[in-house]
Amino acid sequence: MPRLRLRFAGDLAIIRRRAKGTPSGALPGVQQMESVGNMREGIVLLVAVFAPLAGAFLLPLFGVWSRRLRDVSALVMVLASLGASVALVPGALRGEIVAWSIAGPLGLSFSLSADALAVFMAIVSSLVGSIIILFSFDYIRHYENQNEYYTMAVVFLGAMMGLVFSTNLVYLYVFWEITGIASWRLIGFYRGKADVLKADKAFLMTAFGALVMLIGILAVYGMTGTFDLAAMKGIALPLGISALLLVGLLSKSATLPFQTWLPDAGVAPSPVTALLHAAVLVKIGVYVFARLFLSTFVFDEALRTIVASIAGASALVSAGAALIETDFKRIVAYSTVSQIGFIFLGLAMGNALGAAGALLYILMHGLAKAGLFLSAGIVEQNAGTKDITKLGGLIRSMPWTAVAFLLCAFSVMGIPPFGGFFSKYMVISAAVSGDQLVFGAVFLAGALLTILYLFRLFTKVFLGEPHGVLAPETSRLMVACVVLLAALSLVGGLMVGWPSDLARVAISQMLGVAG
């Protein structure tokens, strides 16, 4: 019988666990605090999650005081996440898993755990997130509701961190939905009627998926009696439950047949679309897919065909749409949908090559696509339109933006030595080596379409005859951010060994095989 009675039952335990080079085994439910010294890494983990998540709510207060202070502290919070994530890299490369947990009743233990996969994803999110926040300094300056913008953007990134490190399905869902709430506010940032409608649409579509996924989570709970991912490792999931979970993942990752909210969400300010479409939000689905279906459950062969088919259809349909659309950001958004298909392909193959390729894809696509969206932002803000039929010849007035755009586009197309090449190669190659030649061919067609629509976009916006006044680049900071992303895309390719090392550790932890 439930009773309202104040009693501090149970214990708050901070645990830290090391598992050298082995796939993560069962995480002990509750352990006593080992020693203060060992808490250090746990604290790193907490900083990564809560510096932005909790700190965000200070931002409106800072904003009342000083705009500059608010902007800089937003950046600092995200950088703190990045720093904390990077600090976890050496351990992750050695195959160590840092974990931190508070035991809770009914399986609701709040557990964070940083394996290589999580660290990888955390770095991608916070790295791109930091650049986007930096970009926002000059971009958002011109609009109302700046406090809300920074709060929500930072909350979003914090929730992303939480999601990445969570090993409890319920908390994963919690962070998942926080990102949904934040993106709802962010998409409706301009407050126009259409904007808010699109924000609602995005929210509803992703929430629908999330709710279906919640049914799936409960089904898993019903099967295993736990929400703890580590405890359910190695379980074979019935296809029905997988399908329920998959609906959530697909909707969050804007994959067919839940893709249409993403282009619509292009009404948001460009840094937001960069954040949502490129780097972070849409990667949630693929990340959780990797976390659940590759890292935790026994990989189901039937799932391979299903997911790969969906991914293939998604890649082609949205690439086709990108060739027809005339709105700058919608095109890039469709491109995201298409590229997410590639990531799903890599994961769906269930082999080491595909999974590693998918991870690299997350990184490379995040960097490059963020660059594309931010370029779109520069163009939109300076030229006052994002209709590509009304743009043209901007390479003359915006040479840096144009070149950075092109470089990022090369990376998305998968042209070496840009990072996008390696990831694209690896995922398609995974299909081939998995004897799935048809999927390989489909995605090859997708890659071709990618080249076509990105060049179409580049040609229409930056080349050709100018329409009206050629708007110049007004903010050096914004241009610098875009150039930085382009440069990172290139460096990511030239130095592909670095992310690849981490990805390989992640794969070995996930699949239990050496990459």
């Binding site: 019988m1 439930p2 009675r5 039952a9 009914l106 709430i181 409960l218």
Partner: protein
């Protein structure tokens, strides 16, 4: 001390009337103080133990057969919180001292009724206290000023009478079949599978369904909520309907039904139907309060649905949802009051972009909306999760799925509300609108903070809740 919960407000009402008319402004604060004490008592969990020596003579004299448990504490806590919020709203929205005084008095009367319901162990007493609350509430509704006030009150009375008839009939049947009308007696009768006892139970449940506005017994609710003055709707939506209908169901499910067939199935079906119909009804409403009203119906369906799940978890979940919804919905009605005070209208189609003018109201309403829609990390998510878990544990998968997917409709109408009222471009028409006064903001902010805090600290809270049992 449980007797005090009945006596103190009652005595207070009587004493207030002895005050000189000049001093009537005090009435509101007296009521506020009593409610604050009530909430404190519920939280501190002292009312069952402290009074043994001190109040024994009084108890003996009165001879009330009261019993308290966690559920009583829960409803008393909610009453305290919601009542305080309603009183604060009343302070800013009711214009004359006299109106506020009367409001405070009637609230106190209703509170006695609710407290009584919280603690009785007897079906007839339950019925009596339900009626006490109903009468006080009807008068509260009728005391308003609008054109539709009487209509709302009238519908409330009318269906209340139906409920009374059903419940009285039921009591008669209980007397016939089991010879007793305590909860335990009824339980024995049901356990024996006596058909007449089950019919009696069904009728009593139907009476409570009317009170708790379960579909299809819900006709009165939207009109009454909409017609009622702002503080009254806060109070009604926050606690009255829930206590007199839903809490009573909770009590019966806990003490009498015990998860037996067919009571459980009735609760499941009625709950599910209510959730869905209420949610769809809310979707296209254009009156702020009416939308909230239908939302209330839908959410109360969740509580009833939970009662059909795994018994222990279900009651825990229902209780939590009860609390969360009481907090959030009264807060939303307080928000509605703030908006109405600024704009003079409740038609959401005429509103727009108020977020820019009333940021605190907008922010708190968003918190409450999302909490009710069951979005983490707010409190509403956890109670819904537990509800669904309870259903899942009872292998009621289809009902669990309905409960989950109906959340989407909930989210849809709340998003539509947010979009039309707060989250849009500021309209020229409302350039004069300002943030509501502190008096209206305090309850909204306080309740929103409760929602957030409970949401974030939920697992700890749950640990505490489970500490005693389960």
């Amino acid at each position: 001390m449980s007797d005090l919960l009945l006596l103190v407000p009652f005595v207070a009402v009587v004493l207030l009337y002895l005050l000189p008319k000049r001093a009537r402004a005090v009435g509101l604060w007296v009521a506020f103080g009593i409610l604050a004490l009530e909430a404190a008592a519920a939280v501190l969990d002292r009312f069952a133990t402290v009074d043994v020596g001190l109040l024994a003579p009084l108890e003996k004299l009165l001879g009330f057969h009261l019993a308290t448990d966690g559920l009583s504490g829960l409803v008393i806590l909610c009453t305290g919180l919601v009542g305080m919020a309603a009183l604060l709203v009343a302070r800013r929205t009711l214009e004359s001292v006299n109106e506020r005084f009367l409001f405070a008095n009637l609230v106190l009367v209703a509170v006695v009724g609710i407290n009584g319901m919280a603690m009785v162990r007897d079906l007839f007493s339950l019925y009596v206290f339900v009626e006490v609350t109903a009468v006080a509430t009807v008068i509260l509704v009728a005391a308003g000023r609008g054109d539709h006030v009487l209509e709302g009150a009238w519908k409330y009375i009318f269906l209340s009478v139906v409920a009374s008839v059903l419940m009285l009939t039921s009591l008669g049947f209980f007397l016939l079949s089991t010879g007793g009308i305590t909860l335990d007696a009824a339980r024995t009768g049901l356990a024996a599978n006596a058909p007449l006892a089950w019919i009696a139970m069904a009728l009593f449940l139907c009476g409570l369904f009317v009170k708790g506005a379960m579909v299809p017994f819900h006709g009165w609710l939207a009109d009454a909520y909409t017609a009622a003055p702002a503080p009254v709707s806060v109070f009604m939506a926050g606690i009255v309907t829930k206590a007199s209908g839903i809490f009573a169901l909770l009590r019966i499910a806990q003490s009498t039904l015990g998860g037996a067939t067919p009571g459980r199935e009735i609760l499941l079906v009625v709950g599910a139907v209510t959730i869905v119909v209420g949610a769809f009804l809310a979707l296209t409403q254009t009156n702020f309060k009416r939308m909230l009203a239908y939302s209330s119906i839908s959410q109360m369906g969740y509580i009833v649905l939970a009662l059909g799940g795994d018994l222990h978890l279900g009651i825990l979940a229902a209780g939590l949802h009860f609390f969360n919804h009481a907090v959030s919905k009264s807060q939303l009605f307080a928000n509605a009051a703030a908006v109405e005070k600024q704009l003079g209208t409740l038609d959401i189609d005429e509103m727009g972009g108020l977020g820019a003018r009333m940021p605190v109201t907008a922010g708190t309403s968003a918190v409450a909306s999302l909490s009710i829609a069951g979005l983490p990390p707010l409190a509403g998510f956890w109670s819904k999760l537990l509800i669904i878990l309870a259903l899942w544990n009872a292998k009621e998968y289809a009902f669990a799925a309905v409960a989950i997917l109906a959340s989407l409709v909930t989210l849809a109408y709340f998003l539509s509300l947010q979009r039309k009222v707060f989250f849009g471009k500021p309209l020229e028409k409302w350039a004069g609108a300002r943030e509501a006064s502190a008096g209206l903001l305090v309850p909204a902010v306080a309740l929103a903070l409760v929602t957030i805090a409970l949401g974030i600290g939920f697992p700890f809270a749950l640990r505490i809740l489970l500490g005693g049992g389960a």
